[in-house]
């Protein structure tokens, strides 16, 4: 099985779909000739031509809006928003248009579009290149949100997204683009090539949207997390020796509530962990779900570990970004609680 980075896996997903389906088109800022600032679309224009892979003006509303029109025609656009921080100009097109086309048209028009966008910090991007806006989209009816944590899932989820009959946003944790993360910023990123999750099958396969995966089995506490934070959780588990179960949600909407409930009922404790700011973040939804469904199985309150409710600071990035130490402290405190 070939070894791939997440970038290569993402590119491979688009390659597979473009080869299979003439209706797939890829566009966004810098994605054509140059192949994207993160190189995710590198080589696709050479292979499929300018008619199917092209640069767009710097106009996010225009990117998503045009994709909607193309989808209404019958194409399958897969567009890139260069950074999730720049998805806001397209917000109206996503939430008012793509998300509702099926509903408001009595299913006469649908928007099977895929929006790929890099999220999260850890690369010293400051406030405008580090944000995690996923909860702004999980609040919206009619659009699905997925977030992979490794190359295998990245390819499988992206192909699933491109085949999905509804609009899907694929949040790509840019901290994981080149290699897994061991949770510590002062250690260089290791390479996916030595990581089992860097094994990516050739050709077509999918990872089902709406299904979580158990990243690590454990009995003491459940950590519900996704994206980069999966590895922070892993590091914290290693460092504290606490036998936590780590659930990688992979898909935020639809959410795999069954997997969450099963794990929390087993462990009796639950931490929700994400990088996005805490207040009204996706962790609030997770905590509420657990409270509603697992209350009588809980031995301690659900704990949230998240980014602070501040813009993403540049120089203090590593204090902002939940790290293994912070997660470890909270885990220990939870275990002491009765």
């Amino acid at each position: 099985m070939p070894q791939m980075s997440m970038i290569e896996a993402i590119r491979d997903a688009m390659d597979v779909k473009m080869a299979e389906d003439d209706n797939v088109v890829v566009f966004g800022e810098d994605v054509g000739y140059f192949g994207g600032v993160f190189r995710c679309t590198h080589g696709l224009q050479d292979k499929y031509g300018k008619n199917r892979v092209f640069d767009s003006p710097i106009n996010e509303s225009g990117i998503v809006g045009a994709a909607i029109g193309m989808a209404a025609y019958g194409l399958r656009p897969c567009v890139e928003i260069q950074f999730a921080d720049y998805i806001y100009p397209a917000y109206d097109q996503i939430v008012s248009e793509a998300a509702r086309l099926r509903y408001r048209s009595g299913e006469q028009f649908t928007a099977p579009i895929t929006i790929r966008t890099p999220v999260g910090g850890g690369i010293f991007g400051g406030q405008t290149h580090s944000q995690s806006p996923e909860s702004l989209f999980t609040h919206v009816a009619g659009v699905k949100s997925v977030i992979p944590s490794n190359p295998y899932d990245a390819k499988g989820l992206l192909i699933a997204a491109m085949e999905d009959p509804d609009p899907v946003i694929v949040f790509e944790p840019k901290r994981l683009y080149n290699g897994p993360f061991d949770g510590h910023h002062d250690r260089p990123a290791s390479n996916w090539s030595k990581h089992p999750l860097g094994d990516v099958p050739e050709g077509h396969y999918t990872v089902e949207i709406g299904k979580a995966s158990t990243f690590r089995e454990g009995k003491a506490v459940t950590i519900l997390t996704y994206g980069t934070m999966v590895y922070v959780a892993e590091a914290a588990v290693k460092e504290t020796g606490i036998d936590a179960e780590i659930i990688d949600l992979r898909s935020l909407l639809p959410l795999d509530v069954d997997a969450i409930v099963e794990s929390v009922k087993k462990t009796g404790r639950c931490m929700v962990l994400h990088e996005a700011t805490q207040t009204s973040g996706f962790g609030a939804e997770l905590a509420a779900q657990v409270q509603e469904r697992c209350f009588y199985h809980l031995e301690s309150p659900v704990v949230r570990v998240a980014g602070y409710d501040t813009p993403y600071p540049h120089a203090q990035e590593w204090d902002y970004f939940p790290g293994p130490a912070r997660v470890g402290r909270e885990l220990k405190a939870m275990m002491e609680a009765v």
Partner: protein, 408 residues
């Protein structure tokens, strides 16, 4: 002490407010027939003058004059007149329906009928419209069932959109009518994307985008123009300048000193400004623009100069913000009357036939309304179960659970 006077900023004002005499002296109206008809493949720069004039075909005597008057089929004109009468009858009845409390809301297109109807007549089946809420003529000039439009307005059990949409925000894919959004301007860029797709697939269909003068201030108007200028897809941009955006006159959207058509120049998109109350002019210019797009010469922008005679919607009272007589003083007249006079002058129509058509369409709308009402009025008959369907193609678990809790 500063050498400068304190700065002031400028808030444009219309030429009249309630209590004033209507004043349209600012609107320069050229003679019918005076605007030239450019070659179908002209370069945008060659026709800049057509963005500041008003292309008109019918003169005061109801004669069709000038280069845009040529080669218009009598059948198109007769059908167009009938569709305009039918649309006006529909609007009147729906207004009444709202006043009777049988629906929550309605919007008329009185005075603007020629624009949607003549443009539609110039299209070919398969060309897609991305309308806003005042283009009911796109449907009413076709065989789209009138009763379905009323069912939609009533949100009843036969509503094709299952009670999910505000009245008049129709969707009719079978009739090349994209689903209407309540968020202004969003459809403009959808049309560009659709037209790009048509070109990507090597098809020959064109898209027509629709927007009001007020809504040209929205981002998506500019997104659409920049995309169209870059990729040159087959799209016709229609700006319906009816002078008012609710209570704000066109100047608030930036259309007081420069015309809306002129905006296209910065994008190297050819643009034309047209008398929107002149059915022949609308048809001729639409045909030119559509043909140009279909021949692969790229986008065209058209500003249709017209006047919103009716209130903005059933929730609006225009006497609060504009001169009372302004709509009757509108110097470009009424599109129905003008086409009627033209056809009578040519012996193709008569007062009797006109009166007869009016009563026939009144009756048609009355019957269709009655039939629609039998399936419920204002939401009666629609099922709460429908609320959960079509959010996604498949009902996801969380929605299934919510629906079960509701007991439907």
């Amino acid at each position: 002490m500063s050498d400068y006077e304190p700065l002031k900023f400028y808030v444009p004002e219309p030429t009249g407010r309630p209590g004033d005499e209507p004043d349209f002296t600012k609107l320069e109206i050229p003679e019918a027939g005076s605007a030239r008809k450019p070659a179908i493949d002209c370069r945008p720069q060659e026709i800049k003058d057509l963005a500041t004039t008003i292309i008109r075909v019918m003169n005061r005597d109801g004669e069709a004059v000038g280069p845009w008057a040529e080669d218009i089929d009598d059948g198109v004109l007769l059908d167009g007149l009938k569709a305009m009468i039918r649309t006006r009858a529909f609007d009147e009845r729906m207004m009444t329906l709202q006043r009777q409390g049988k629906t929550s809301f309605y919007m008329k297109c009185t005075g603007e009928e020629a624009i949607a109807i003549a443009h539609k007549a110039a299209q070919t089946k398969g060309d897609m419209n991305f309308p806003t809420y005042r283009q009911q003529g796109l449907l009413l000039s076709t065989d789209y069932p009138m009763e379905d439009m009323i069912n939609q307005i009533l949100s009843n059990e036969k509503d094709p959109l299952k009670g999910r949409q505000l009245p008049i925000l129709y969707s009719a894919r079978s009739h090349d009518y994209f689903t209407v959004s309540g968020n202004l301007g969003t459809q403009f860029i959808h049309a560009v994307g659709w037209a790009m797709a048509s070109a990507i697939k090597g098809d020959t269909k064109i898209a027509s985008a629709w927007i009001g003068d007020g809504s040209t201030a929205e981002n998506d108007f500019h997104s659409a123009l920049v995309n169209a200028s870059v990729y040159k897809p087959p799209v016709v941009f229609n700006i319906v300048n009816n002078q008012w955006a609710i209570s704000s006159f066109r100047g608030i959207a930036g259309g007081d000193e420069a015309t809306f058509a002129e905006r296209a120049h910065g994008y190297d998109i050819p643009s034309l400004r047209v008398d929107g109350n002149d059915f022949l002019a609308v048809y001729a210019v639409s045909r030119w623009a559509i043909e140009r797009a279909r021949r692969g010469f790229g986008p065209v922008l058209i500003e249709w100069v017209t006047y919103r005679v009716a209130p903005h919607s059933t929730s609006d009272d225009p006497s609060k913000y504009r001169p009372k007589e302004e709509s009757t003083a509108w110097p470009l007249g009424d599109p129905i009357l003008r086409l009627k006079n033209h056809l009578i002058a040519r012996g193709l129509w008569s007062e009797e036939r006109h009166a007869q058509a009016e009563s026939e369409y009144d009756e048609e709308v009355r019957v269709a309304t009655k039939e629609a009402e039998s399936h419920g009025v204002m939401g009666a008959g629609s099922s709460p179960k429908d609320m959960f369907e079509a959010v996604f193609e498949e009902l996801p678990p969380h929605l299934r659970e919510q629906r079960q809790k509701m007991g439907v």
